[in-house]
Amino acid sequence: MAWRRRYDHVWFVLPGLLFFAVFIVYPTVSAFGLSLFDWKGIGRDVHFVGLANFAEALSSWPFYRAALNNLIFFVAILIFQHTVGLLLAVQLNARPRFMEFYRTVLFMPVIISLVATGFIWTLMLSPNIGFINPVLRDLGLGFLARAWLSDTTWALPAVIVVQAWNLLGWSIIIYLSGLQNVPQELRQAAELDGATAWQGFWHVVFPLLSPSFTALTVLTFIQIFRVFDVVYVLAGPLGAPAGRTDVLGTLVYRTAFGAGAMTSADARMSYAIAMSVLIFILMAAICAGLVHTLRKREAAV
């Protein structure tokens, strides 16, 4: 009876824990295990190869190219979120008229799937049937018109813009909730001291927003290093054109199931799993470093 009283809470945890163990813990352990083997994904042709898969990934050019694209992607989105997102959050926080309307509209892309977002923009950017090129021509900017998604220079920036459109709401949500915790009196005190609105913001308000800065940076890091849907829809599993938009997500997918839709001849399941394990370890390490540095920055202000 005493034992029952002591552990009765465990019964409430057990069903959830069962799901968690079977569909999250087991596949995680299994991923680490399979990464040490050579296996195509089907059949019984399985060999233990130790860390060879990891060594191969770390010495292959596509892996670095994809990681570099993720990095460019991350830096661009990060700058966008911390400038445009913050600017719009500050405007909303001033509680202008129609504030409810603006907020409702600006948050909306967050609930729209990346697949839908990808389709909408594929069509808008299309050189044949899209509307961005005709609009540019009508504005007298016809020289800017191009086949955005098959242009080796502009494909990646185009994909980044599409993702930025979808993610903008998150930065506004996070900064707005941060701004609502900044006491109004602090800003007013700064203004009475003769500080301009900009100085007041930069020296008084922005430092108080550092928890939002941390949360948004970490969230963006996780979102962008796992990016897949937008690239898959806009550029296909090969990261067209010529791998210019290839990211780690598409690289792993393509390696696991083969590049062709119907053939799995070049599929290398265990190598793909090893790559995803490697990405997970690197991301966890960078993320921990990021959180550590940003928290120190929060404590300093």
Binding site: Y7, H9, W11, F12, V13, P15, G16, L17, F19, F20, V22, F23, I24, T28, S30, A31, L34, G41, L88, Q91, L92, P96, F98, E100, F101, Y102, T104, V105, L106, M108, I111, I112, S113, L114, V115, A116, T117, F119, I120, L123, I129, G130, F131, W165, L168, I173, S177, L219, R226, F228, D229, Y232, V233, G249, V252, A256, A272, I273, S276, V277
Partner: protein, 277 residues
């Protein structure tokens, strides 16, 4: 500040916000307009209204783009997964909220740690596991992983809420002879309602839109949800843009409608998720 300066900054503020709203709304409106266009209309009239409103895009999409199958699938998968993972999260959160009990803290950290595991890493072993369990071709291949993947966020949001519930309530009920289970259903669960809504909204939006897991485990329309169904359709009929956009509108409209009807709950839920996640 002088009145004129106030007015100037007001104009700038409304200009910025309205400009951003236009950038957000144009693609959404464009999607709806595109869903009513005929194929030649896309070429001759790229950014005007349809020369003829082709409602058949929707009826044809229902059959040809298989949304007559994938829409019910999306509804079933999302509804069952949201209910399942919210309910199991609430149970786990209630059990874990007494942190002084043995194991509670360790299990809590284990659940939260699940947030760090990327879907990309587990989806391949999951593929093998589901194939072994014989779940391929059924909606359970999506529902069971979704329930599990919804738990970390649910536990993260609900455990602190469960911990703040007054203990005397359940103690009083216990003295009255109520069993733990009935205390949970009739006292604890109703008190957690705002937290449950946040969890259901966050997980629901994610599950409705999720693309990667069905891309890997669902090959036929019978077991596909809308996002993968649309991508599979475009692979076969890549010029039928009107049908594609009719499907995209059908896949997007339910969420936008729910968002417009419950903006306050969505904003609260998304804020809770963004700041904690």
């Amino acid at each position: 500040m002088t009145r004129r300066a106030v007015r100037a900054s007001d104009v700038a503020r409304h200009g910025l916000l309205a400009g951003a709203c236009v950038v957000v709304l144009v693609p959404i409106v464009y999607m709806v307009i595109a869903s009513f266009k005929s194929v030649p209309d896309f070429f001759t009239n790229p950014y005007g209204l349809p020369s003829r409103w082709v409602w058949e895009n929707y009826t044809r999409a229902w059959n040809e783009a298989k949304i007559g199958i994938t829409l019910p699938n999306s509804i079933i998968v999302t509804a069952v997964s949201v209910l399942g993972s919210t309910f199991l999260s609430a149970m786990a959160a209630y059990g874990l909220s007494r942190r002084e009990r043995p194991l509670a803290m360790a299990l809590y950290l284990l659940f939260i740690g699940g947030m760090l595991v990327p879907v990309q890493m587990i989806v391949l072993p999951l593929f093998i596991l589901l194939r072994t369990l014989g779940l391929f071709g059924t909606l359970f291949a999506l529902i069971l992983p979704y329930i599990a993947l919804g738990l970390p966020l649910g536990v993260l949001i609900l455990t602190p809420i469960a911990a703040t519930l007054p203990r005397d309530l359940s103690d009083a009920a216990r003295i009255d002879g109520a069993r733990e289970w009935r205390i949970f259903l009739h006292i604890i669960l109703p008190l957690m309602r705002p937290g449950l809504a946040a969890v259901a909204i966050l997980n629901g939006v994610w599950m409705w839109n999720e693309f990667f897991i069905p891309l890997v485990v669902a090959f036929k329309p019978q077991s596909q949800t809308m996002p993968v169904g649309i991508v599979a359709f475009i692979g076969t009929y890549s010029t039928e843009w009107g049908l594609v956009f009719a499907s995209v509108v059908v896949a997007t409209a339910p969420l936008i409608l729910a968002y417009l009807l419950m903006t306050r709950q969505f904003v609260a839920g998304l804020t809770a998720g963004a700041v904690r996640g």
